[in-house]
Amino acid sequence: MEFLKDLFLYPGFLFGFVLGGLLEGFKRKLKARMQLRKGPPVTQPFYDLSKLLLKNITKPYTISSFTYLLIPFVPTVGLLVGVLLMPYPFYQEKASFSFDLILIFYLTELPLLSQIIFGYFSKSPYGMVGAARAAQMFFYYNGVFIMVITTLCLLEGPPYSFCLKSIAEAWDSLDVLIKILTIPFFVFSVLAKLKLNPFSIPDAEAEILEGPLTEASGVALALFKLNYLLELAIFGSLFAFFYLPVLKTSPQMGLSLILLGAFFLFFMFALVENFTARLRLSQFSALYLKFLIPSATLILVITWVLKTW
């Protein structure tokens, strides 16, 4: 019973879904306000999702309807497991396994992989181009993201580990300095992971409609959107675990810090989205390969040297 409560209420499905939806609604509202528009209500993502769930599915001929729904469904399960692997207050005290960052990393890759597969599976020309673009972006931003999480893993220890809880508990002065240094890299890699401007290259509406999801509709599209909301919840929470003393305070305060951290991250995203235009893939790759990956690697090496000697 306890397990089902964890799975469906907190920190599982309901918490992830509500947090993700509010973050998306908040971002949209904020973006609109910054552009002097009124914008949709904060709860708009929930209305969108409920409407999609009730709509008919219109899929292309010749493709299997079962696979059409299975492709977005698998990452939904993966992301729910991902949410359960995070040391949320009131939950981490009773969970007995290690909060493994590698597992979270792999599970958060599933939504994008499913979109890349869906783009080709749907046989849509726009889907295929979008999928190829998303696949190439995957190469670059993961380089930065991996360097960031490995750097953060060096904060607590030795012995070092990929345990998210250890990172969240590392708050020495040197740790704080290193954490601050990694923030821009985390933000850049998550922006690209979530395909937000200026990195909305795979979904470039004006050129290739919705990219990999051009042919997604009804429940399938709803599942993709749900995955997106769960991703927002995970990355928002990760930001809070990495950069705020969530586990160093009382559980109530910790939970408030998670919400604060997540909303702050999406405030930054809204700001960046408003100030930038979409980059071309070649500009994106140049930025990552020439600047971000080498710099993130340098920070990892410096941290390693500082921590070893």
């Binding site: 799975l7 008919n56 599915i57 219109t58 292309p60 001929y61 010749t62 299997s64 079962f66 729904l69 299975l70 939904t76 399960v77 729910l80 497991v81 359960l84 692997l85 396994f97 493994d100 590698i102 597992l103 792999y106 890759e109 992989l113 890349i116 597969i117 783009g119 080709y120 599976f121 749907s122 046989k123 849509s124 020309p125 295929m128 190829a132 696949a135 190439q136 995957f138 190469f139 993961n142 380089g143 991996i146 360097m147 490995t150 750097t151 893993c153 060096l154 030795p158 070092y160 580990s161 409609l209 051009t214 009804g218 893939l281 070649s282 790759s285 390969l289 090496v301 390693w304 070893t308």
Partner: protein, 587 residues
């Protein structure tokens, strides 16, 4: 006794195939090879159960006794944790691949006796190498595997490319193999091998680099893909390329560990090779070459894991060796089916064949998910162990590189999935049927089962196969408990949700007929422009790394070194000739 039988039956099978070469039947020779490999596996299983009950034991054949005072040339097979680990997975994989080969080889017209004689000789030699306790015989078996590889790559010896590829593979592995001979001789004849450990390790490492396709001596493996696919699967994915990894473990055992310098060298050499391999794999449009480069990449994890020198590091290396044999063998078998079905290895000429070959697609998905390290499959567990071991041993760069390489591997296999299996189907592939390939699919299933089983229940492999090997190496056994890695939780959740999803699909979505069908929206665009094939799937990455691809191929530098040596020899030769002329002149 069973130890001797397990190797002997394969040599006997090779002899029968060789002697009966006039029987031009793929089924006769194929069934014989399948039978001998199954018998070898059965004997090895009996040995393994005996080992679990009684501990280490050996079998020896007294040979060349008259020379014993000078050198011990007795054939000694030993059943211990390490030897049985390598022998067992080799035998298991060979059963699946031999079953697959029965159907695969029916496309050929001749050469069955030769082919299966060398296949069986190879498996026998591989088992001989892994079971042998005497380094002299280890070297003999090591070279025999290379010889079989040469013969099997040159199966279509009339083709210049096959012939060249075979020579290249043989020369590179054979010349480097002298390093092993040097290491073995120094170890045998020196009163204190520890004093010469640097010399021994240098020799062994050269042999390992060539045999286990590590930088810079991996360049023969893309050429070796000109062999029939069962050869690529058995030799160049599962067994031959593991001989080098086995040697590293063997010398780790003999020397009681490696010095710090060699450990660090192995860690970063392994990761560097792995990065090279995956970057080159990414740009391949030839499915077998792509897999070949991934062999370079995945073996990098094993070499690096040994270098870490901790229990978890060596366990990750052993586990990845085991997993790689299954998933890479499986992926090669899938590649063989694709090749026979579409008559091409070029991914750009495939596309949309998932609907025509659904079972093959499922096998591919299992293999690809395993090698990419998707949670729930075996590759994830061994890679997870590697990252954890690397960060614990204070090698964060190795851990980060390992993770990065794993994402590139995923990208590479997504490329194959999208461009070969999904997307638009080619006109010529519209009549494809999977029926003729059922026997080959069965061979693939044999290799797919452990990918899933060891992914969900890694404890089985760790307890029975890996921990005995670790204990032989004087290392503590590892315990991947459910709490550290909640694989059972993940499995249970996946099953729960998938069940729920299926229930919703079959009780609500399907009966309500809310799924309508329509044409794909094209917006009047030219489809040829919006159709990225394998050639342009990662075009931006290829453009961005163009200089790297141009300069990083070690073959160009190896060729320069060879030319320099050739020039030197020619100079010495002409100088000798001149001297001879001077001396022969009458005074």
């Amino acid at each position: 006794m069973f130890l001797g039988f397990s190797v002997g039956v394969l040599f006997l099978g090779a002899l029968i195939s060789g002697l009966c070469y006039r029987i031009n039947s793929p089924k006769f020779h194929g069934s014989l090879a399948f039978l001998t490999s199954a018998v070898a596996l059965y004997f090895l299983n009996l040995t393994f159960f005996e080992f679990l009950k009684t501990g280490e034991f050996g079998w020896h054949l007294p040979l060349f006794r008259w020379i014993r005072d000078f050198i011990n040339l007795e054939l000694i097979f030993k059943a211990n944790g390490l030897n049985l680990f390598f022998a067992l997975f080799g035998a298991y994989v060979s059963v699946g691949i031999n079953l697959y080969a029965i159907k695969y080889m029916t496309h050929e017209k001749e050469g069955f006796g030769r082919f299966y004689a060398f296949i069986q000789l190879f498996i026998g030699s591989y088992l001989g190498l892994t079971l042998s306790e005497n380094l002299f015989w280890s070297y003999v078996f090591f070279e025999l595997t290379g010889l079989c590889s040469y013969q099997l790559i040159a199966f279509w010896y009339q083709s210049d490319l096959s012939s060249f590829s075979a020579k290249k593979a043989f020369l590179m592995t054979h010349i480097a193999g002298y390093g092993f001979l040097l290491g073995a001789l120094v170890f045998n004849f020196s009163p204190d091998p520890k004093a010469y450990q640097h010399l021994i390790l240098a020799g062994v490492l050269v042999a390992v680099l060539a045999k286990s396709v590590q930088w810079p001596l991996y360049t023969w493996i893309p050429y070796a893909m000109n062999a029939p696919t069962p050869v690529s699967a058995l030799l160049h994915a599962a067994c031959l390329v593991k001989c080098g990894v086995y040697l590293l473990f063997k010398f780790y055992l003999l020397l009681g560990g490696f010095p710090e310098f060699w450990k660090n060298l192995l860690i970063y050499l392994g990761m560097f090779s792995s990065l090279m391999g995956v970057l080159f794999a990414l740009k391949q449009a030839d499915v077998k070459k792509l897999l070949a480069y991934h062999t370079v990449s995945q073996i990098g994890y094993m070499v690096s894991g040994i270098g870490l020198g901790t229990s978890l590091g060596l366990a990750s290396s052993l586990f990845h060796t085991l997993n790689h044999a299954f998933f890479k063998g499986l992926l090669f078998l899938v590649a063989g089916i694709l090749q026979q079905a579409t008559h091409t290895r070029d991914l750009s000429l495939m596309g949309g064949i998932a609907s025509k070959l659904p079972k093959t697609t499922v096998l591919y998905l299992i293999g690809a998910a395993s090698i990419s390290g998707i949670p729930g499959f075996n590759g994830f567990v061994s890679k997870w162990m590697f990252y954890q071991a690397a960060i614990e041993a204070n090698h964060p760069l190795a851990a980060a590189l390992g993770l990065f390489i794993s994402t590139l591997t995923t990208l590479s296999f997504i490329k194959v999935l999208d461009t070969a299996f999904l997307g638009k189907i080619d006109e010529k592939n519209k009549q494809l049927s999977e029926k003729p390939f059922y026997l080959m699919v069965t061979g693939g299933i044999i290799l797919a089962i452990p990918c899933v089983v060891f992914g969900l229940f890694p404890q089985i492999a760790i307890t029975f196969l890996i921990n005995p090997a670790l204990s032989l190496l004087n290392l503590q056994g590892v315990n991947i408990s459910f709490y550290q890695l909640p694989t059972v939780l993940i499995g249970a959740l996946f099953i729960l949700f998938l069940g729920l999803g299926l229930l919703i699909y079959f009780t609500w979505l399907k009966p309500k007929e809310i799924i309508k069908e329509t044409e794909v929206f094209k917006g009047g665009e030219d489809e040829t422009v919006f159709n990225p094939t394998a050639d342009d799937f990662v075009a931006d990455i290829e453009n961005r790394l163009a200089t790297f691809y141009k300069k990083a191929d070690p073959d160009q530098y190896l060729l320069k070194i060879c030319n320099f040596i050739e020039g030197l020899i020619l100079k010495v030769y002409s100088s000798i000739k001149k001297l001879e002329q001077i001396w022969s002149k009458p005074c």
